[in-house]
Amino acid sequence: MPCISPDGKPTETGIKMLKALQGGIGAPEAVAQTTGLPLFRVRSGLRELAQAGMVEPKNGDYVIASRGAELIGE
């Protein structure tokens, strides 16, 4: 799992993506640009973060969920 560790916490890559979403709604392309990660990893990672309830999909974009915000200390 690139974004969630076996203990259920976000990995460094997961935290990078969560932080990129701190400003509000974000498209995967924007998250890729902010984090410097390849787009395919961002798409896959956001899907994984959504499955873990850390982000929520919104019409193809993503917004940070309260659980994700707590984990990065927002």
């Binding site: 799992m1 690139p2 974004c3 390849p38 787009l39 395919f40 990893r41 798409r43 896959s44 990672g45 899907r47 994984e48």
Partner: protein, 216 residues
């Protein structure tokens, strides 16, 4: 009377949509659609911890920055476990200093390798041969290369094909034999007699009406 059993294996072809997949990789679960909008090279290797494959992974790592500059991502595949892939990638880095930057599919179920026609039973019933699929941003297969188990791939040719495809798409031209970026390109042949006559007056370098070249 003995029943005749013949297995039909379907192979994707150039111009077909790349077969869909969702696969466990060394970079997590990836889907074909995750690569949409960019170029993708899916390649298979026979097995982890084997000599020719190791040289190929080092060579793919060496050209990875050149591929990134061209907007191309790499995705490896073999019929090995994720644990084996992780151990091999770590071993390659430990022994050679090359850190493999791209994901590798662990295709133990052979789902992806079967969909892409990567297992050639005449070579091996359990291992994938050395395939290269070059897939465009619309996820259409644009090139297929097959190499036998004993022959490592030529990275220069893979880069050359990517350059040729991208040049063709950007300029509506074709590329001649042994073409390299900067060389003259071939203008698609005319479809009518009138166009053939006009072609000869357009100032191109022509052998005859059907073979004209120009500089980009």
């Amino acid at each position: 009377m003995e029943e005749s059993r013949e297995q039909t294996i379907s192979f994707p072809r150039i111009g077909d949509p790349a077969p869909d997949f969702e696969a466990v990789t060394t970079h997590g679960v990836l889907r074909r659609e995750d690569f949409k909008g960019g170029w993708l090279i899916i390649f298979s290797h026979p097995a982890d911890f084997t000599p020719v494959c190791t040289t190929e992974f080092i060579a793919f790592t060496e050209i990875y920055p050149d591929l990134e500059k061209r907007g191309v991502q790499l995705l490896g595949l073999s019929v090995d476990s994720i644990t084996s892939h992780i151990a091999w990638v770590r071993n390659v880095e430990d022994k050679t200093g090359f850190k493999i930057p791209f994901p590798i599919i662990a295709d133990l179920s052979k789902e992806v390798s079967t969909a892409y026609g990567m297992i050639h039973p005449g070579q091996s019933k359990t291992e994938t041969v050395r395939c290269v699929f070059i897939i465009d941003p619309k996820q259409i297969i644009r090139t297929i290369l097959y190499y036998p188990l004993t022959t490592g791939r030529n990275m220069d040719e893979i880069l050359r094909i990517v350059d040729a495809l991208q040049t063709t798409d950007a300029n509506a031209v074709a590329t001649p034999a042994n073409w390299r970026p900067g060389d003259m390109v071939v203008i698609p042949p005319p479809n009518t007699q009138e166009m053939a006559e006009e072609r000869m007056k357009q100032g191109y370098e022509c052998v005859d009406w059907y073979l004209c070249r120009k500089k980009l």
